[in-house]
């Protein structure tokens, strides 16, 4: 459970840091008066959508940290009557996929920066590059599945291969969900959404992409180290 423990420790620290700035030591029963005097009153600065995304990333982060913890525990407990788990042969194409996903993330970051500068052409190009490389990543993952099946590692072969298919599958679905959200942003742009809204949408996509890249890098390194 060390990955989940680390994730939840980081979350707890974040919450504690945030709470420490919320005047929890104040004595509200003595503070009758107009709201302007009170710092931290009412809504705070980041927009609801950004906060919503970060909360969502906390949920997805919890999901993946538990999944990866289960992975490490599942590999650790080769007792229970089973034989010791053979490490999975890592398909070479995963290195390519990693590069493509990083490229996708970088392209979205470029789109975000372009949107901030108001360079719409750059933003469009960035979104296009990100979408293409994300699709290439998904295709690459499917190829990796095929290669594993070709050498006899199926879903139900053993713990290592089951976890590989499960984690890559769940991760791929999240990439697909991100692509859907990106398509929604592009559709809004076609319908003439303002620059401000595009900045927000592209920014949210970029954050989500970086998050999925980090999750993938974590799993990939666990795979290589096992």
């Amino acid at each position: 459970m060390s990955i989940a423990a680390a994730f939840f420790a980081v979350l707890a620290a974040t919450v504690a840091w945030w709470l420490s700035r919320q005047r929890l030591m104040s004595k509200p029963w003595l503070e009758e008066g107009p709201p302007v005097d009170l710092p931290g009153a009412g809504a705070s600065s980041p927009s609801a959508a950004r906060l919503g995304l970060w909360m969502f990333l906390a949920v997805v982060g919890s999901l993946f940290s538990l999944l990866l913890s289960a992975y490490s525990m599942g590999l650790g407990t080769h007792g229970m009557g089973g034989a010791a788990v053979q490490p999975l042969p890592v398909p070479k194409i995963l290195w390519f996929n990693t590069g493509v996903l990083a490229l996708s993330s970088a392209a979205l970051e470029w789109a975000r920066l372009s949107a901030r500068r108001g360079a719409l052409d750059g933003m469009r190009l960035g979104l296009l590059a990100a979408a293409v490389s994300a699709f290439a990543f998904l295709q690459g993952q499917l190829l990796a599945w095929q290669q594993l099946r070709a050498v006899g590692y199926f879903l139900a072969t053993d713990q290592a291969s089951a976890f590989f298919y499960l984690v890559t599958g769940v991760h791929g679905l999240h990439v697909l969900g991100g692509l859907t959200a990106m398509a929604g942003a592009v559709a809004r742009m076609r319908r003439g959404a303002g620059l401000e809204q595009m900045r927000l949408s592209v920014g949210l996509c970029a954050t989500y992409w970086h998050f999925l890249l980090v999750v993938w890098l974590l799993f990939f390194s666990m795979l290589l180290l096992s």
Partner: protein, 588 residues
């Protein structure tokens, strides 16, 4: 209440980015069925949850009938008994209590209490309810599929949950897992809404430390649920793979009816870790909103400010954080490194400290208060007694050496029903009686309410108190039939009959509650806007029931905390949160 601003929302210009985005329903269907208004969604959630709750109640009757009169009912077989256990437990914990507190109370109260017009993401909020309804339908559908619902016990422990001896192995377990995944997906949409609305949607002046404790409880519980439910989700996906695709995440090499299964190498304990990583926070996901609501009920109906507001807030947060570090205490009998047992016993006992702080503060709030024994107050008082009772037996079970012999007995059934069955449901009732006048504009019937309270409260004690004795005697839980056991005296059977009669009576008393709700909808005395003379914002809306958009022309501005009751020198014994401070002369 003055109804001056009906429809004024569209006419009056309203400041703030939030208002521009308020969704306006255009037809009857979008107003009452596929509604994006949190108040309608709250009622939809509550009615759905109470309905499935009545089903789960009937299941508990069937179990009790079997335990009291074994062999008298042909249709209750050993298999169906386990199906009743499973469906009763899972329905009550997840689909009733979680949905009621967060989907029901959360949706209704959060926007009103923080002074917002609606949830921040109303569309996702609507989806949340419809996915929840789908989850409930899938759950209920398991009663009608071949083989019936799963009988794996509400904890669904593998490997037996997916092996052929267990009832519902073909369809029941699959649909149960799918239903849980749906529930979690739906809840996540709602939960993100609740958190972001509390953090971003507050009215001017509503600092975090001016929030009513109800909001603090629901907020903290929602954050916990958002983080804990993924554990159940991961577990459900993996078990579904084991059941349908032949993987062995939770399945060791195992022999079934003389043949080796294709499974092997998996860890059943892994499921228990995932399940209880969700399962223990779940206890507090149900308890924290109850804590918050009880604080507000007690303060309002004792006309006194809540004692130790800051401590109450801190305690809620600390309990929420600690509850992620105690899940192992459900697994003492699963086999565990003794160091872990020590760790989990310690964290479990530490949780008693912030919880005790809350209990002391409730009692000290009551101390010399102007206590009105209204129906909501009775339920709140009943909660405190019951929660202390259930909490104390929790201290027993939190210790490894005490838990090991008691774990398989009725003592555990008594404990968790007291602490997370009866106690939270008393708060649900109290909360419904308290806010019903706001939701409908009419009061509930007081005599029926008191009848409901006394039968439920005393009846619950008649049911669960004797179970402690049965447990100490060694009467095992989960048994379809006791049969001949040397250490169980015949009096245990008599006690079982007594418990069953009490359970039947308490169950029937819930019909009084349902009748009261329906009857009062049409015949209740008109309530006015603020019948309890309460301070929090939901009682200060221009219309009762609150109209779409909640606040008429302008959002409220908050000048004070939520507990200004019996303030010395004030004109009335409560000061609403949005009442500006009086220009007081400073004494020389």
């Amino acid at each position: 209440m003055a109804d001056a601003s009906v429809g004024g929302m569209d006419a009056a210009p309203i400041g703030g980015a939030h208002d521009a985005e308020l969704y306006h329903p255009r037809s009857w269907v979008t107003k009452y069925v596929f509604s994006q208004d949190a108040k309608v969604i709250a009622i939809q959630y509550s009615v759905t949850a109470l309905t499935i709750g009545l089903v789960a109640l009937v299941l508990s009757w069937l179990m009790r009938l079997q335990l009291a009169f074994p062999g008298c009912f042909d249709f209750i077989t050993a298999e169906s008994y386990y199906q009743y256990i499973t469906m009763h437990g899972m329905s009550m914990v997840v689909y009733v209590l979680t949905a009621l507190f967060l989907g029901g109370f959360g949706n209704y109260l959060i926007p009103l209490m923080v002074g917002a017009r609606d949830m921040v993401f109303p569309y996702a909020n609507m989806l949340s309810y419809w996915i929840y309804l789908l989850a409930v339908i899938v759950l209920a559908a398991t009663f009608f599929v071949p083989g019936g619902p799963t009988g794996a016990g509400w904890t669904l422990y593998p490997p037996q949950a997916i092996m052929s001896g267990t009832p519902g192995r073909d369809w029941g377990i699959v649909l149960m897992l799918v239903s849980l995944m749906l529930f979690i997906a739906g809840f996540t949409m709602g939960g993100l809404n609740y958190v972001v609305t509390v953090l971003q949607g507050r009215a001017r002046g509503m600092t975090l430390m001016r929030l009513p404790l109800t909001v603090w409880g629901i907020l903290t519980a929602t954050v916990m649920a958002l983080l804990a439910f993924p554990a159940l989700f991961v577990g459900a996906v993996m078990m579904l793979f084991d059941r349908l695709l032949g993987t062995s995440f939770f399945m060791p090499a195992i022999v079934e009816a003389g043949t080796h299964l294709r499974h092997g190498g998996g860890s059943p304990i892994l499921w228990q870790h995932l399940f209880w990583f969700f399962g223990h926070p779940e206890v507090y996901i149900v308890a924290l909103p109850a804590f918050g609501i009880v604080s507000d009920l007690i303060s309002t109906h004792a006309r006194k400010n809540i004692f130790g507001y800051r401590m109450m807030v801190w305690a809620i947060v600390v309990i929420g954080a600690l509850s992620f570090a105690v899940w192992g205490h459900h697994m003492y009998v699963s086999g565990m490194n003794p160091t872990f047992g020590f760790f989990f016993a310690t964290t479990t006992l530490i949780i008693a400290v912030p919880t005790a702080i809350k209990v002391y503060n409730w009692v000290l709030t009551l101390w010399r208060g102007d206590i009105h024994l209204t129906v909501p107050m009775l339920f709140a008082l009943g909660f405190i007694v019951t929660f202390v009772n259930g909490g104390l037996t929790g201290l027993f079970l939190g210790n490894v050496v005490v838990d090991v012999p008691l774990s398989g007995t009725m003592f555990v059934v008594a404990h968790f029903h007291m602490v997370m069955g009866v106690a939270p449901i008393l708060v649900v009732f109290g909360g419904i009686y308290h806010w019903y006048p706001k939701v409908t504009g009419r009061m509930t019937n007081d005599v029926l309410g008191k009848l409901h309270f006394w039968v439920t409260f005393l009846g619950a004690y008649a049911i669960f108190f004797p179970m402690h004795y049965l447990g100490l005697m060694g009467v095992p839980r989960r048994y379809y039939e006791l049969g001949e056991m040397a250490f169980v005296p015949p009096s245990a059977a008599t006690l079982n009959v007594f418990i069953t009669v009490a359970a039947l009576v308490v169950g029937v008393a819930q019909l009084v509650f349902v009748f009261n709700l329906v009857w009062s909808l049409f015949r209740g005395t008109p309530a006015g806007g603020n019948p309890w003379r309460a301070t929090t914002l939901e009682w200060q809306t221009p219309q009762t029931p609150p109209a779409h958009g909640n606040w008429g022309g302008s959002l409220p501005v908050v000048y004070r905390w939520a507990y200004d009751y019996s303030v010395p020198g004030a004109d009335q014994d409560f000061l609403p949160q949005n009442q500006p401070p009086a220009a007081r002369t400073v004494p020389a």
